[in-house]
Symmetry: C2
């Protein structure tokens, strides 16, 4: 530890007015009922679980976060292993259920090296293994006797699973599979928990029998010795090196050289090779796989709200404390003292719509989860489940079969678009928050930068945000064709398209400045307009798919914005009495202002589409700018701190000097800075001297 | 070092088609004359200097970049000191001039701990010191006998210099100044080279004489012992801790407790305190200070082009090599093999306009530098120089005095707006490039993320990008008032405003799809429209300055986009014969396509302003989208790799596996990954075991 500050330094305090007083004034000035709003967002039960779990973590110095920020990867990855072990021990000691264990991970702030073992590896064994394989592999995995990972992505292939180059060749002679990496680009890559931790891997490889390729299948492969933890022969495995974030994760690479595994190691719940004959057969089909992807993406949408809220909470609290310059008019009027930057319109227009977006995304994610769960129930009852089987029986794509499956197709497209939009908003919003904190936003003690760096891959994984938009466009084109042909199923998408068709000649004239339902309708109108535009370009003008990708991306964004606005409307506007019952009248009104702010600001940013489609006039947009949004910023401003308080992040969770709930920004920055490990070093700065460091505090 | 790969791994090669072949095809398919274009951008002389300097760096293992990526801050800062010393020794050995020393820093890739000593400290002593002080302080500083920094920003105050809290109180009794930090927020903060390196600081402090505040002045203060390098008594100094980037710089904090310095340590070229009487007097005024800021910001504009180009070069080369999926139509037509992602329109529309932006910003920066230099010459001749003196003599702001000073006011506003726009484009563009590289963009070996993190502060320093836009708006409002009053000086801004006024009733009707000059005019028209809008809101509707900040920001952005488009037009369109003479006909035509692509794409993204002002119709924008831009992407695509080659970045400079000029992407990723230091560790992954690491390669 560096030498502690002398007494005269410890006696110093920040100049007035001070953070704690400023935040107290903010909180006193808002009528928002923070506790009730918090419970609306999270439920009381979850809030209690969080505090219990975090209390347990805080007691253990292994979970200290400050030191992590200065560490290199070699230190960090060891700390990650230590934290992972400590967390598993705590789980046992505290008797955490799966949700509590997940909460602990979120609170701890950085991944641990076991994350992919706990998640993907165990899920894969459970879902794709036979009962025999469960006994052999799943049980020891659950008990952490074998530690695994899920090895799909390769150096040369990411999203396109069909392009994988690792092979698994059936060898009838000794009834084994030979796992092999024929080229360098076949190396598994990015595989979490593989680099240093796993001793087993679920490997996706192209199955070959008698020279015929049966496509990618999962194989369980032991890669390291269970005692020495050294790689086995003909396995080359390691960590892929430093990344923009995720320094605590040992993402790994993996190559095989004609590596034999027994027959039982092909995960065989759905497909197997008869060991006696080498005949490949399909014995089932992944049920509800479609559904699993929807579930994963819906979770990303839900998380995008809270992920962004983390940055917004930090930025809004700090901007309520940070004071800089005076307003030009105030200065001219002879006022003294500086203005909290949150009073500047240029700061408000960046942060308050993002604050609104956190709520919009949260309610959208929750709306999707509810639809998804209701639909899963329905499909189970209707015994749809198995897509492939249904296809065989009825000779049709599942979405053509019955309301549940149709609905799933809609949900699938919805989840793709919303995943892309939600994570894009969160990624870009986090950086906006960081920058709104001025120079100190660049310090790691802001808590935003490291979180941004760790969140960033969300824009790429579970479907690259740009790639995914094609799914949405394809679905909308298909729906539009069905609407024109008169054989469309009835759902939200087709209803919106039909409404547009019925009215496009008479025009829309939505009163977006005075009517919330009209705002939603204007978003639907714009999507419908862009959909039929795209349809014309594709079906009439026969433009190539590639040439339309930009249009599709714009279309998907429009559709997803429509869904966010509609979900937000449903949650906070459609039923004011229900909202008032939950959080009171004042808070209900503030939530409605947030809805309007989010919807009008997004409309203003995409004004061209709204004009061109005839959803609104240029005059309405001008008014939305000069009156609507500006007025809403004034209305939301007094509640900004309370609205981020309602997210209920603990200081341990946020890990931010700037975003401290008590406002002690400068004291905390200073304490962390002065004890940072670089201050252990005493340099020899003279160029002629070969010595770099004269002294290391506490060491010499 | 981790154990080397076995022979079977070394024998592996990437699957076909391979990077080197793909890049060769790209290069062969373009008629762009890369060498001539390179010389147009940089001059042959600079290109030669760069290769000489880089060759010297590459020979010295101190400048190896790969290891840096995995280091924590304690290691990194020591390496930074080592690199700094090595670079100063190399400078002497190789006889580098100032430009070559700067090139070496750029090529080395990360700052060294001497950067603020070499820059700000020495410049401050030179510009603000008297001849006596030059002898006392500047000479030893230039010889690295004293190492300094420039300590202005404080924990509680960034941009607002008037708000600084550190005090320097004149003590007549012993003719000293007492430097003091009365509050914690007075702590100097973010000061580069201060944390561990400097033994002196140029401290900006509020000068007090007999209880009267004379505002911030510069004082030279010794802070560490010249032998032990320990902080002196009543000085508390250290490193401010980890940051989002800039890990190699010891940004520092600094507090004083009633710390005495002699009279001679107040830098006294412009202001001094009479030691005998304690009377404060102004003995001169910072000449051309206005000009220095213009110069610094013009450099940022120029650098924003090459800073972005670094990311664009990496992304375009890698996207020409990376292949993923097939085009949907190709797949339907039964084609096999995957498509290079650069062929996808969704990738092109993200990368090719950024490629165009690199050229646009480069020519804009160069245009500004030329205007600035011409004007400095002119002002020197006209003996304007000293703003304060002029003000006294003529009782007017300098911009009202004569053409040179008027021009400087225009340049000042221009430089503010363009600094904000250029660095914003570069910051956002770099992240766009990183994401266009897919998953591998997240690896540090992409070379984009670390560069992005280091470049990021450019959006905040030398004027926060949002704050600066007020300067532009203020200048435009003033110009518009002068135009309306009929007493405007004649310059580009007033001409544009006047043209708009003369034509706004008859309308514009610019043919932006077929006439390049009309594109420029449409941008000017939009700025003029927004300026008079702002003027109406401010002067007629009397809206508060604060309520107009968002409008001002939009206005400044519009004005700066106009200037970029106009500068790019001047450089590559206005005189085709000159361009053809420099780079040949084919390349000249490609540069004109880049101009159109940049201008139309930017127009499309800000379509609403262009409609509303009447500069273009909605139909023109639709055509720009469906025909114009799409067609330009097709035209530029074949030249993409050559156009980034022309930036002439060496592989040492780029430090990117993905952006290697030879296309050996996967070999390089793999070699770096397998030798990364995390692979030295053998874990003990079993939860029950208290051991974390069983073995460290080469150590046990």
């Amino acid at each position: 530890m560096p030498p502690p500050p002398p007494a005269w330094v410890n006696a110093l305090v920040p100049s007035e007015p001070r953070g704690p007083d400023l935040l107290a004034i903010e909180r006193a000035g808002s009528g928002v009922e923070v506790t009730r709003l918090s419970e609306l967002l999270h439920t009381r039960e979850l809030i209690n679980k969080r505090s219990r779990v975090e209390a347990a973590l805080i007691k253990d110095p292994t979970f200290d976060k400050t030191e992590l920020l200065s560490m290199g990867r070699v230190e960090k990855i060891q700390r990650s292993l230590a934290r992972g072990k400590a967390m598993k021990r705590l789980q046992e000691k505290e008797g955490w259920d799966a949700e509590e264990y997940k909460i602990a991970h979120q609170a701890a702030g950085e991944p641990t090296v076991y994350d992919l073992h706990d998640g993907m590896f165990i899920v894969t064994l459970r879902e794709q293994g036979t009962p025999e394989q469960h006994k052999l592999f799943l049980e020891p995995a659950v008990n952490n006797k074998i530690i695994g990972c899920y090895a799909q992505t390769e150096l040369g292939h990411g999203s396109n699973v069909r392009g994988l180059e690792t092979t698994a060749t059936w060898n009838q002679a000794d009834q084994t599979f030979i796992i092999h990496s024929p080229v360098l680009t076949a190396s598994k890559w990015w595989i979490g928990s593989l680099g240093r931790t796993a001793n087993h891997a679920a490997v996706m490889a192209q199955l070959y029998i008698d020279g015929k390729n049966y496509g990618p299948h999962p194989f369980l492969v032991q890669i390291r010795d269970l005692k020495t933890h050294e790689p086995l022969e003909n396995v080359f495995v390691g960590d892929i090196g430093p990344k923009f974030g995720f320094g605590s994760m040992d993402n790994g690479f993996l190559l095989f050289n004609q590596y034999k595994i027994p027959h039982v190691n092909m995960l065989a719940r759905f497909n197997r090779v008869d060991p006696a004959t080498g005949v490949y057969k399909r014995v089932g089909a992944p049920s509800l796989v479609y559904g699993t992807m929807v579930w994963v993406r819906s979770n990303i949408v839900l998380d995008s709200g809270s992920s962004l809220a983390r940055g917004v909470a930090i930025a809004i609290r700090y901007c309520a404390i940070r004071r800089q310059f005076q307003d030009r008019d105030a200065e001219a009027a002879g006022a003294t003292g500086e203005t909290p930057v949150l009073n500047y319109k240029m700061v408000q227009v960046r942060l308050l719509p993002l604050l609104a977006a956190t709520y919009a995304l949260h309610f959208t994610g929750r709306g999707m989860m509810e639809m998804y769960e209701a639909n899963q129930e329905r499909m189970k009852k209707e015994d749809i489940g198995d897509r492939e089987t249904v296809k065989k029986i009825r000779g049709a794509a599942p979405e053509d079969l019955n309301p549940g499956a149709e609905q799933l197709a809609d949900l699938h497209a919805t989840s793709c678009g919303l995943k892309a939009l939600g994570s894009t908003i969160a990624v870009e919003g986090l950086e906006m928050c960081r920058r709104a904190c001025g120079g100190h936003g660049y310090s790691s003690y802001s808590g935003i930068g490291t979180w941004y760096a760790d969140y960033l891959p969300t824009a790429t994984w579970e479907g690259d945000n740009y790639m995914l938009t094609q799914q949405v466009a394809r679905y909308l084109l298909k729906s539009a064709r069905a609407v024109l042909a008169g054989n469309a199923p009835k759902n939200e998408t087709t209803t919106t398209l039909q409404f547009y068709l019925s009215r496009k000649d008479t025009g829309a004239a939505f009163d977006v400045l005075n009517n919330d339902a009209d705002i939603v309708a204007a978003y639907g109108w714009r999507t419908a307009y862009l959909t039929f535009e795209a349809l014309r370009l594709r079906d009439k003008d026969h433009q190539s798919w590639n040439s339309l990708l930009v249009h599709f991306w714009r279309l998907s964004t429009a559709q997803s914005q429509f869904l966010v606005v509609r979900n937000f409307y449903d949650a906070v506007v459609a039923n004011p009495a229900r909202v008032a019952g939950a959080v009171g009248d004042v808070t209900g009104e503030v939530l409605r202002d947030l809805f309007r702010l989010y919807a009008l600001q997004t409309m203003e940013q995409h004004a061209a589409d709204f004009f061109t489609s005839g959803a609104v006039t240029t005059n309405q947009i001008s008014l939305a700018r000069t009156k609507g949004i500006s007025n809403l910023l004034d209305r939301v401003r007094p509640h900004a701190v309370s609205l981020v308080d309602a997210w209920n992040f603990s200081d341990f969770f946020l890990n931010s000097s700037l975003g401290r709930s008590d406002g002690k920004v400068y004291e905390d920055m200073f304490a962390k800075a002065s004890s940072n490990p670089v201050n252990n070093l005493t340099f020899d700065p003279y160029v002629d001297s070969p010595v770099l460091v004269k002294r290391v505090a506490g060491k010499l």
